[in-house]
Amino acid sequence: MSLLSLLLISGCDLNTRMSTFTAKGPVAETQLNLFMLTVWVTGFIFLAVGGVYVYVVIRFRDKKDGNESIPSQGHGNPLVEMGLIGVSILLLVIIAVPTLQGIWYTHDVPDDESSLLGSWYTNGDLSEADAKEPFIIRAIGYRWWWEFEYPQLGISTANEMVIPAGRPIHIELRSVDVIHSFWLPKIAGKVDLIPGRANSMWIQAGDTIDAWAKKAEFEGTDNERLLAYEQYLEDEIYDYYYGQCAEYCGDSHARMLFRAHVVKDEDFYAWVNRMDAGHAEAPEGMTWDDWYASYDETPEELTGDVHEGLKLFMGRAKCATCHAVKGNPRAVGVAGPNLTYLAERHSIAAGWLNHRNDDNSVDSEAQLNNFIKWIKDTDEVKPGNLMWKAKGAGIGELDPLLNDEEIRKISLYLQSLQ
């Protein structure tokens, strides 16, 4: 048995996409350390008690030597009992004390100056109140996708969030329907999104510069420190992280995944600015006013796959009734994920359909196929989801259904959202 477990441990990679063994942030690290502590303590007890147990079973087996005399009928020994109870309690205290510390530490964003948004966010103006709060993201669970809202920055995205490395983030957890659970294993353990309940948690990808310097015992000038810290983030933290809904929420619970891009501050600012501006132009550089004027009056003049895709998106396919695309003044639906800069995301359908290359770029061919697959077989990819059937509003209820050509055009339009 132990051989088998050894085999498993040594033969298998513990650094996988959602492994809790490779903690990449102070919260997950605290949790991992506690776990390892419980493993050591119980492992010790296991060996001690298990060892005695095996010894007893072997030592006192019936020797079959014809000795039928009855063993001494001892009833117990209070001293031994008390001693073992004492040892058990002692071992539990070893677990309990760090557990309490862990509970306090992982509960709230650390209460210090550098945790406030105002202390590091240098990309544009913040209101006074916002600057005095930690950085907030509202994660809202839907069956079966995620909305990520950045209330202080006025932007919103879905299923793939972008967060800066080394910054504490307060996440407000809300749900519109049933219970979901936000789990980003490498960065933090889960907390549930419960309807009617104001839950929250905090996460942080990688250490802050101070914590890192302390841990690495770094000595040197501020500048060296900054560079070395940057190198640490580069080596270990900037990455594409995998998360998943961890509370059963219905048919497609298994397919309610999400992602977090952890990036450097500058990249984060750039992304925020892009999301904030949205798609200021209609396809081929038209202004939205021109485009809509044409769409309303002479739609036949808007030709080419992308224009036609957008026409379908706004028109027959009804996509815009549920989806918002920032910039596009008429695409302001709220029932589905926000599609602003959709083509920059590395997955769709809440992480189920993926198109990411190893070098962190988007595989556009796979992306197109995924769009097509999603629009064509929405109900198969995610049985029961709202986009397909929604009391008459879903695309599975269109009459006739979108044909392959239309789907291709819509998908090409979606690919232009970058």
Binding site: R174, V176, R197
Partner: protein, 114 residues
């Protein structure tokens, strides 16, 4: 009453008659207490005081009925234990629960797009 099992007819009569007065007295007290409670809530005393008194009075009635009407003081300890265990677990659990759920954590229903 289990303890009457081993009594003679006469003893039964006697104990029951003794208890009769206990019952009557208790009934009168219970009625009076209920009256007091009704008046109490309207009196202009500090609300914590009224609250405490109300809870004590209700506890008093509760125990009165259990102890005398239900014969618990006359009966075997095992019955008190059977009932008491349930009482204690229920009281402990639900007091804890009352503190576990707090109004601060209540959030309005989330509506997409608001």
């Amino acid at each position: 009453m289990s303890d009457t099992e081993h009594m003679s007819e006469l003893d039964v009569l006697k104990t029951e008659n003794d208890r009769y007065y206990a019952f009557v007295n208790l009934a009168l007290i219970l009625a009076a207490v209920t009256g007091i409670e009704l008046v109490l809530v309207y009196l202009p005393f500090p609300s914590t005081l009224i609250f405490t008194v109300l809870i004590s009075l209700s506890l008093f009635k509760f125990i009165g009925v259990i102890a005398w009407f239900m014969h618990l003081i006359y009966d075997k300890l095992i019955l008190t234990m059977a009932f008491g265990t349930g009482m204690v677990i229920a009281f402990g659990t639900y007091t804890a629960l009352l503190f576990l759920l707090s109004g601060e954590m209540v959030a309005p229903q989330e509506i997409p797009g608001r």
